[in-house]
Amino acid sequence: MIVAERKPFDDILRMLGDARRVMVLGCRTCVAVCLAGGDREVELLASELRLKARIDGRELTVIEKSVERQCDREFLDPLAEDLADVDAVLSLGCGCGVQLIAEVYDDLLVLPGLDTKLIGVTESEGQWSERCATCGHCVLDITGGVCPFARCSKGLLNGPCGGSQDGQCEINPDIPCAWQLIYDRLRKLGRLDQLSKIIEPRDWRTSRDGGPRTVTRPEAQIAKKSEE
């Protein structure tokens, strides 16, 4: 899932400026699971904003709303009526949500309430860690299911670097060495021979180096075809 964290309250206040009518808009997908932007977090932030406004003697109306996914237009379109008279939308979605709201409602001030951090997994209650760097060309088949780009601090494809100690990374001793994990996993699978193969340099155009990426599935574009 996409993991995000709420921005510091002072930053949110600064962004909102003198807005008097604000919608705090949550997203019930990834950011709800990582406790950053679901219904619960919308309620909390709305309460905080209302209390702060009262303390400061400012007039502020906060509308609380959440949608299933902020990254799909079909869930944003029905918001038109509620958004008609707001000064700003504070999105508690990931960066995708913020941008799509701004695209759908192009005359509306849309502000990010979260910092989008990573694509990762739940390690334990209240802790998430990165697993995927969205490089666009998965190599997990040859690295035993452990991603060297997302989990090796140096992103080495033919690791390890030699700096790890006791199985921990030399850059950050709190995280495990990805190549130690890869070795352990391949040994368990009886596939250590994988490590004797040199992995060719990657074509990084599939990653961010090729600029913003798109995915097209013609067979799913039925509506578009019928429009044509």
Partner: protein
């Protein structure tokens, strides 16, 4: 009597039904006096008290909030009181960042047999809030603003 002494704080106490709620009942049975400022809300467990409920209490005009759970290790649901303590600690940071002050919410522990502890706790907390003065957020919604449920 000074102006500060005239201030009667509104205290909301979220009390676990297995301990503090019964302790409050026992305090009454024992004829122990405690300030009438306390509005008791029974909860299934202190672990069911969400920060949203605490903030809503302040939005509705509370000057202070107590979350009362079972003694550590005695939670009916194993760890509800520890969860409550973590949530109260988080709520304190929120109250601090909005300028209400972290001292307006406290987590306390007691058993159902601790009627006197309940009376003493709410008496002391009421005095603590009296010292802090009225909530800077005021008593209720501003005109034109809908009341929060």
């Amino acid at each position: 009597m000074t102006e500060a002494n005239d201030f009667e704080p509104v205290i909301v106490a979220f009390c676990c039904r297995y301990c503090a709620y019964n302790a409050a009942d026992l305090a009454g049975s024992l004829r122990l006096a405690y300030p009438p400022n306390v509005r008791i809300v029974q909860t299934q467990c202190s672990g069911s008290v969400d920060p949203r409920m605490i903030l809503k209490a302040f939005e509705s005009g509370a000057d202070g909030v107590i979350v009362a759970g079972c003694m550590p290790g005695d939670c009916h649901f194993m760890e509800g009181n520890f969860r409550a303590a973590a949530r109260v600690a988080h709520t304190k940071t929120m109250l601090e960042e909005i300028g209400l002050g972290a001292d307006r919410v406290e987590m306390v522990y007691m058993s159902a047999a601790m009627g006197r502890t309940f009376a003493d706790t709410v008496t002391n907390f009421t005095e603590q809030i009296r010292e802090l003065g009225p909530s800077p957020a005021g008593r209720g919604p501003k005109p034109g603003e809908p009341a929060q449920q």
